[in-house]
């Protein structure tokens, strides 16, 4: 066979990955089929190596017949990296530019989509408390990973991360001391449970689930980078339909609505922090 013919065949590993993602969807309704393939491939290779399977097909076989394999594999497939007040300038822009608009509403809904272990949930809850908006706000914190959601609800973090969280909070324009909001012990910190009085934690997939109504602010940072472009479009469409008129959408520092089919439904609000406002041009 000449090179051109070989080229048209999928590599075996690519076929295996496609089949495993299909199995994961049909058997467990987790849909990673439209995730960005480079990263999925990397993480499945990692899972295969570390779990000691000879092939990705062998891993698929186990996944189909052994339910306990599901959380293990989801742990590999969903990336859980965050910190409190990550990119402090983003939170500063929320505080300085978005909050003045939010003040004009009698009640507020905020959606943290892909909340992971809750770092951003607590960051926004603290920011809203500092700005006196907490009492009129309901926060919706969603993720597809149950372990992450439980972690988010617990609000417990390793003590060695607190220094970074504290510095971030300060440079985000924090008006209080972060230590007011947690108690430390046994190498961990536990965040004040009253911070989650206004938070609803819920299992929600941007891939397969529907609109969440009338949000004033949606924060979804470094979640859509794991999606391919059609799936990004779906998620951004979902955000558009979930936002109230003139509602705000914040995305990750290196994400962009420019390449999206919905680009014209949003306006840049704070350009350098990737904060957009719903409303056509």
């Amino acid at each position: 066979m000449d090179a051109a013919v070989i080229e048209t065949f999928e590599k075996v590993e690519d076929i295996e990955i496609r089949l495993l993602l299909e199995a994961l969807y049909v058997r467990y309704h987790y849909d990673f089929r439209n995730y960005a393939m480079g990263s999925i491939k990397r993480r499945l290779r990692q899972a295969r190596e570390q779990l000691g399977f000879a092939t990705i097909s062998a891993m698929q076989e186990r996944l189909l017949h052994d339910e306990t394999m599901l959380p293990t594999l989801l742990g590999y497939l969903t990336v859980q990296v965050s910190e409190m007040f990550r990119d402090p300038s983003y939170f500063k822009a929320i505080r300085d530019n978005v909050v003045p608009h939010l003040r004009t509403y009698p009640s507020l809904k905020v959606w943290i989509a892909g909340c992971s272990f809750g770092e951003e949930v607590y960051s926004l809850a603290i920011l809203f408390r500092e700005e006196g908006l907490e009492d009129r706000t309901i926060f919706y914190a969603t993720d597809i990973n149950q372990d992450a959601l439980q972690g988010a609800e617990a609000g417990v973090y390793d003590l060695d991360r607190i220094q970074l969280f504290t510095e971030n909070h300060r440079s985000s324009g924090g008006k209080s001391s972060l230590s007011d909001y947690y108690s430390a012990g046994y190498g961990r910190v536990t965040f004040d449970r009253t911070l989650r009085d206004r938070v609803v934690f819920s299992d929600h997939s941007l891939v397969t689930d529907a609109v969440f109504g009338e949000m004033h602010l949606i924060s979804c940072r470094n979640v859509m980078i794991y999606f391919d472009r059609p799936l990004q479009d779906r998620a951004i469409g979902l955000f558009k339909d979930s936002l109230a008129r003139k509602g705000f959408l914040g995305i990750g520092a290196k994400e962009n609505l420019r390449f999206s089919a919905h680009a014209d439904d949003f306006q840049e609000f704070v350009r350098e922090e990737k904060i957009y406002q719903k409303g056509g041009k």
């Binding site: 491939k41 990296v81 859509m224 980078i225």
Partner: protein, 189 residues
């Protein structure tokens, strides 16, 4: 064997990167046709100034990668601090926040591995100066996929560890000076 023309170039560099890239990138002509993906180790908390800096010096386009950015020819793409860069099949660049590899995010290995997957033999990988071992494994994957692999001569590199680690894993890699690398790239691009 006749090697087909490369479709992309990947470069990894760490300590001493700025000086090394200052020899290579500004010397590439306006009609250089290939995209170049570059990972330089940068502290995660710094806003990277690399793209701005080189934009002023280069004849080719220079940009910092944004997620799902379509790949254009004649462009040098820098990985942003705190993200890995991967090449996707649909000729876009994807960013991820996956855990650091060898303490690095961006990681040279991650970029090189995905370039090996997407381009197979049609990529040139260059491992420059650096004081750690990132990039060596990725270089091996590119060599195995049939791509061209080059290391900066450890003798003349600002920091020898990284190109030496690459050479240890890929003994057949071409060992070139910065000028040699520049001349080679000008020929293939």
């Amino acid at each position: 064997m006749i090697r087909s023309l490369p479709r992309a170039i990947v470069i990894g560099a760490s300590a001493g990167a700025l000086e090394a890239l200052s020899v290579i990138l500004p010397a590439l002509p306006e009609d250089f046709r290939l995209p170049i993906f570059i990972v330089v180790h940068i502290p995660p908390d710094k806003r990277s100034v690399l793209a701005e800096l080189f934009r002023a010096k280069c004849k080719i386009r220079v940009s910092e990668v944004e997620d799902k950015e379509p790949i254009r020819p004649s462009t040098a793409y820098f990985a942003p601090p705190d993200y890995h860069v991967l090449v996707e099949k649909d000729h876009t660049l994807a960013l991820t926040n996956e855990e650091p590899v060898l303490f690095s995010r961006p990681s040279i290995d991650v970029l090189f591995e995905s370039a090996a997957d997407i381009y197979g033999p049609d990529v040139v990988a260059v491992l420059l100066t650096g004081a750690n071992h990132d990039g060596a494994k990725g270089l091996l994957l590119i060599a195995r996929a049939g791509g061209e692999v080059i290391v900066q001569d450890p003798e003349t590199a600002f920091a020898a560890a990284m190109p030496q680690a690459g050479l240890d894993l890929c003994p057949d890699a071409a060992v070139l000076s910065l000028q040699g690398i520049t001349d080679y790239l000008r020929r293939v691009g």
